[in-house]
């Protein structure tokens, strides 16, 4: 079963992350890189990706002529996707355990961030109809 683990945050949250000390960021990234290695070794790793800062985000709609209409204004409360991991695991509980590891990655002063991680299963269209 494939799951996607989504890390979301507001613009304010991203702003405070950008103010972390280099040491705190290195500590955080080291834990996440170790996790990626472990997931690769166990054969559960599918993909991971970080997204650019939310100030670059654009909302796009089609219009009658099919040309894009773009808008870069979002409510302050908007949760932006910051990054994700895709894992192939045997049970949802294993996906939750991996999400907890990400949530426990250290933040400022080495204290776990305990960030919420959204866990979602992938679906194919035939599955959705059922």
């Amino acid at each position: 079963m494939k799951y996607i683990l989504l890390m979301n945050g507001t613009k304010a949250g991203v702003g405070s992350y950008l103010e972390w000390s280099q040491q705190d960021r290195d500590g955080h990234m080291a834990v996440l890189q170790r996790l990626n290695k472990e997931l690769t070794a166990s054969g559960e790793f599918v993909a991971t990706q970080g997204l650019a800062a939310p100030h670059e985000a654009m909302l796009v709609k089609g219009q009658r002529d099919g040309l894009p209409v773009t808008d870069g204004v979002f409510p302050e409360s908007k949760e932006f996707l910051l990054g994700y991991w895709i894992v192939e695991v045997d049970t949802p509980e294993r996906a939750y355990a991996v999400a907890a590891r990400i949530s426990a990655a250290p933040g400022p002063g080495g204290v776990p961030t305990n960030m919420p991680i959204e866990v979602r299963r992938f679906a194919s269209h035939p599955e959705r109809k059922s």
Binding site: I4, L5, L6, L18, R25, M29, A47, Q49, G50, L51, A52, A53, P54, E56, A57, M58, L59, V60, K61, G62, Q63, G66, L67, P68, V69, T70, D71, K78, E79, F80, L81, I86, P92, E93, Y96, A97, A99, A100, R101, S103, A104, P112, N114, M115, P116, I117, E118, V119, R120, R121, F122, A123, S124, H125, E127, R128, K129
Partner: protein, 131 residues
């Protein structure tokens, strides 16, 4: 440059989608299949995925002992990711054009849904954050 194009919806939007007629659903799915094929033919396709229903979504935090604490309650206003495309294009404008095509996917009665698609640049590495 790689971009991720994200389609999101609230639980209410998903409930509406669940009520679409078979014909409307099939038209929408056929569009999505053709769209993916077109992106491949144009050499910009990287990946696409659809996500399961939001009522199966869980939010997970690490407890004090590191064990997962799961919760399935979300605010009604929460935007759930419904699916995404990752494309590799020359500039943001190309990504916006592709997003507009996705936005125009047929909805009820075959009319373009014109739903908003969030376009975000995908990072090559942490250095892209300017850190």
């Amino acid at each position: 440059m790689k971009f991720i194009l994200m389609m999101t919806g609230t639980q209410a939007d998903w409930d509406q989608y669940a009520k679409w007629s078979k014909e409307d659903l099939e038209r929408n799915v056929a569009f999505m299949r053709t769209f993916s094929k077109q992106l491949k033919d144009e050499g910009v396709f990287v990946a696409t995925e659809g996500l399961g229903w939001p009522n199966q979504a869980k939010v997970v935090r690490a407890g004090k002992d590191g064990a997962p604490v799961t919760d399935g309650i979300f605010p009604e206003s929460k935007e759930f990711l419904a699916g995404y495309w990752i494309v590799d294009v020359e500039n943001p404008q190309e990504a916006y054009k592709i997003a507009a095509r996705a936005s125009a996917a047929p909805g009820l009665g075959g009319k373009p849904g014109n739903i908003p698609i969030e376009v975000r640049r995908v990072l090559g590495g942490h250095a892209d954050l300017g850190l």
